[in-house]
């Protein structure tokens, strides 16, 4: 598998605050890469550095051999990177179909001449994501789960190769969560590489191939979901030192036992 996107010592400072500090990562083509960490760990900031909302203060981000560190979001979108927003941002006074049409028109497909008719493409995406019955609704009349799906649909209409999902499961009930996870798997099977930030551990550990953990802007662990969830440093970041010690002891006794 080839490396799709690679960050080298990416840092982002807001004044004196290091929101992201010297984080390096590699995402392989076709994998689901999870990004977790406590609140304020810098996950969303890292996302924004990749898409170009905030250019990184230092470090380099290479996407398929191309330096995209300084590119703005619309430029990275045309290259095939797009993201969904943690707080969903539908175009409220447009219909659901028009929302997705914006993605189809301005994303990658149109410029490469692949999409003959953006409306057709938008309808296809809505069909795929299951929002087709609501196509003529105004986005402001959608419920939260539907808005989240619309957010994903609009991003998909741009024909991304790397999709950054920012907490798409948060706020959904268990049934909806399962549907969203199934959708994410389906997207990966369709050849889209996925980088996801998620707080719902069941979701992110269940679906990811590899996971990276951030804490206070620094990378503290990386590996398979199992490696990460038993890593004492990760447990310490989430639950505090005493739990970490307990987990360490448990791990040692496990190893002795086996």
């Amino acid at each position: 598998m080839a490396v799709m996107i690679e960050g080298t010592e990416v840092s982002k400072y807001f004044g004196g605050l290091a929101a992201v500090h010297n984080v390096s990562f590699q995402v392989q083509e076709g994998e689901i890469f999870g990004l977790i960490g406590p609140n304020g760990a810098g996950k969303t900031t890292l996302f924004r550095c990749i898409t170009g909302v905030y250019p990184a203060t230092s470090g380099k981000i290479i996407y398929r051999g191309r330096d995209i560190t300084k590119l703005l979001p619309h430029a990275t979108c045309v290259l095939g990177i797009t993201n969904t927003h943690q707080v969903v941002k539908p175009f409220l006074d447009m219909t659901v179909l028009d929302n997705v049409r914006v993605g189809a028109f301005f994303g990658r497909g149109w410029k490469q001449g692949e999409v003959k008719d953006a409306t057709e493409e938008a309808s296809r995406v809505l069909e795929f994501i299951g929002l087709a019955p609501r196509a003529s609704f105004l986005a402001r009349n959608l419920t939260l789960p539907d808005r989240k799906r619309l957010e994903v649909a609009r991003a998909l209409a741009t024909r991304p190769e790397l999709l950054l999902l920012d907490e798409v499961v948060a706020g959904l009930n268990p049934t909806e969560t399962d549907m969203m996870i199934a959708l994410i798997r389906q997207l990966r099977d369709n050849g889209i590489t996925i980088l996801m930030v998620e707080h719902v551990m069941r979701a992110v550990l269940g679906v990811s191939d590899r996971v990276m953990v951030l804490n206070f802007g620094e990378k503290i662990a990386e590996g398979t979901p199992k490696q990460v969830s038993t890593n004492p440093q990760v447990i310490e970041a989430y639950l505090g030192k005493s739990y970490a010690a307990a987990a360490k002891a448990e791990q040692q006794s496990d190893q002795q036992g086996s």
């Binding site: 941002k89 993605g103 028109f105 953006a118 609009r154």
Partner: protein, 354 residues
């Protein structure tokens, strides 16, 4: 829409009748040409209103500085006409200069968001007015620019510029009546095209959520500047026509803040962000302005001319609209039809929630 369907709709016949009436106005001679002048001004203001709406209504970038485009268009035509160039030939140039001026201040200012952009445009409008007011004094000692002056006059300062009047003023005015009408329809076609194009979809996306628009690939800076330039181009041409029709311009009229406010008010009254709203708003605006400017209140020996109060009336109107019906006349109409329609709904079964 099918042709048959079009023929059956009352709206088609009303608009057709209206267009025929407007075409006949100069020959009817109602009020000794009064209606023709009012018509000309209405066409002009509908164009201005529609042009502002492309930036303010579709894109959501509220500009209080559009008088600068209007004035630049008017001055471009007047300055060139006084140097012996056919004023009609200067119209495209008037539009282009206004559009380029838009790029000049739009490039830095459109990076600002929401109210900050609006505040910056107030500054732009006023700065342009003051510049044009004092331009002659500023350049009279600069050797390179001195040659641009003619008898020491380029913009004429506060006195303004006077164009020679043609001999046959009647047919000249009539020609401009139809010219302005053509310009208005051209403006409306542009506005309709923008609304239904990829360009327009991008503008609406910017209006509703600029971050989301950027995420899905809309080059927001580029599109905002393009909208401003298109808007400026249309306003510049309107200014050029105004100068040719009035034969006299001065900074206070064409660059004045009331002009900018007018362009904000018209689409807001009618319903900004729509195609028809700015037309309705401009018609209401021009009729109200015409009534107010000529009306007097007389109580015994006390006499009050309302013309001094017309800005007060507009200010009040703006407050009322923003407070009670931000979507203007069209919003009001929608609300009323919904209310009337509701009476019948009670017997109908409740709509199934999808």
């Amino acid at each position: 829409m099918q042709v048959g369907e079009l023929l059956r709709s009352w709206k088609t016949w009303i608009s057709l009748g209206l267009i025929i009436f407007l075409l006949l106005v100069p020959f009817l001679g109602i009020g000794g040409g009064y209606l023709q002048t009012l018509g000309f001004l209405t066409f002009l203001f509908v164009t201005l209103s529609t042009a502002w709406n492309i930036l303010g209504g579709y894109t959501g970038q509220i500009s209080f500085g559009h008088a600068s485009f209007y004035g630049l268009g008017a001055y471009t035509t007047s300055i060139l006409a006084l140097r012996g160039i056919n004023p009609l030939m200067t119209m495209p140039l008037a539009g282009v200069i206004a559009a380029l001026f838009g790029l000049l201040w739009g490039y830095p200012c459109l990076r600002l968001r929401g109210q900050y952009f609006a505040i910056a445009t107030i500054g732009v409008g006023e700065a342009t007015r003051l510049l044009m007011l004092n331009l002659d004094d500023l350049i009279k000692d600069i050797p390179l620019l001195k040659d641009a002056l003619q008898d020491g006059v380029l913009t004429g300062g506060a006195t303004g510029l006077m164009l020679p009047t043609p001999e046959d003023i009647g047919s000249y005015a009539m020609a401009f009546y139809y010219g302005a009408m053509g310009m208005m329809f051209a403006g409306l076609v542009v506005s309709w095209w923008v609304k239904n194009s990829k360009f327009g979809l991008g503008l609406f996306a910017i209006n509703m959520d600029i971050d989301a628009a950027e995420t899905v690939g809309v080059n927001t800076v580029y599109y905002k500047n393009l909208a401003l330039m298109l808007s400026g181009f249309m306003v510049g041409i309107s200014g050029s026509i105004y100068a040719q029709y009035m034969f006299y311009i001065d900074p206070q009229t064409v660059f004045g803040f009331p002009m900018s406010i007018g362009m904000v008010l018209m689409p807001t009254i009618g319903g900004s962000g729509t195609l028809v709203g700015p037309i309705l708003g401009a018609v209401v605006y021009i009729v109200v302005q015409d009534r107010i400017l000529t009306a007097n209140i007389e109580i015994g020996t006390f006499k009050l001319s309302l013309s001094t109060l017309h800005l007060l009336v507009y200010g009040g109107l703006l407050v009322v609209i923003v407070l009670f019906e931000p979507k203007g006349i069209l919003g009001l109409q929608k609300r009323l039809t919904r209310r009337w329609a509701k009476r019948g709904v009670e017997v109908a079964p409740p709509r199934k929630m999808a």
